[in-house]
C-alpha cells in the first residue's frame, strides 16, 4: 500500500529538482502542504524561491495556503507562473 504522495514538478521547479516528479513519504495519518514543502526545500534548497511564485494544486484542484491536508496517494502539482501561448 502506498505511503507516499506524488509531487509533480513543472518548468523551473522541475529544473531545480532535476526530475518531473518525486514520490514523498507521508505518515499514514496524513500531513500538510506546509510539511511537504518544508521537506522538499530541505532536500532541494533551490526550490525555495520558485515555490514563492508558484501555485499549488492537489489532485487537480488549486489549494490556497499551506494548512491544506494531504495524505497517501494524493498528487501535488507545483506550478511556477504560466507562460503558454
Amino acid at each position: 500500500m502506498t505511503r507516499s504522495v506524488r509531487v509533480l514538478l513543472f518548468a523551473t521547479a522541475r529544473e531545480a529538482v532535476g526530475a518531473a516528479s518525486v514520490d514523498w513519504e507521508v505518515p499514514a495519518s496524513g500531513s500538510t502542504v506546509r510539511a511537504l514543502l518544508a521537506g522538499l526545500v530541505e532536500e532541494h534548497p533551490q526550490l525555495e524561491p520558485i515555490l514563492k511564485g508558484s501555485r499549488l494544486a492537489c489532485n487537480g484542484v488549486y489549494v490556497r495556503g499551506r494548512r491544506a491536508r494531504i495524505g497517501p496517494g494524493d498528487e501535488i502539482a507545483i506550478h511556477p507562473p504560466y507562460s503558454g501561448g
Binding site: 529544473e15 524561491p49 520558485i50 514563492k52 508558484s54 499549488l56 494548512r67 504560466y82 507562460s83 501561448g85
Partner: protein, 149 residues
Amino acid sequence: MSCEITSRPLTIARVARQLEDDASGAVVLFVGRVRPDTSRGRRVSALDYEADRAMALTRLRALERRARQRFGARRVHLVHRIGRLRVGAASVIVGVAAPHRSAAFGAARFLIEELKRDVPIWKSDRWARAPTGRRRRRRPSPSVGRSPG
C-alpha cells in the same frame, strides 16, 4: 474534442473544420507562433513547451464554457502544442465561430489572454533564463512561501 494539448504539429485547416456551423456568420482564428526574438532580443531557434496536461485541459474547457456564455460563441476550439517547437511553428491556435464578428473577435481575444494567464503551460525560454521570481506576476496567486497559513 474542442480542447487539446498535443505534441503534433498544429494545422489551421484542421481547427477551421471544427468550426463549421451554418448559423455562425463569423469565424476568428488566432495562431501564436514561435518567434526568433522571444528572449529579450536574443535569437532563439526553438522553444520547449510543457504542460500539466490534465489540469490544462480542465482549464481550457472552463475557458471554452466562459466564451460560450459571455460572447455567445457557438463553436470554440483551443489547441496548444507541447514539446520542442522551432521558430515559425504554431504553438497555439484559438478558433471561434459566432453569429456575428464582434462576438467572434471578442471571444478569440478573451481566450488567448486567459490561456496565457491562467492555463498551466510553460515555455522554456522564459523559465530557463530567469529561474527565480524576477518576472512580474499579473495578479496575486496562492503564494506558498508568503502564505500566512
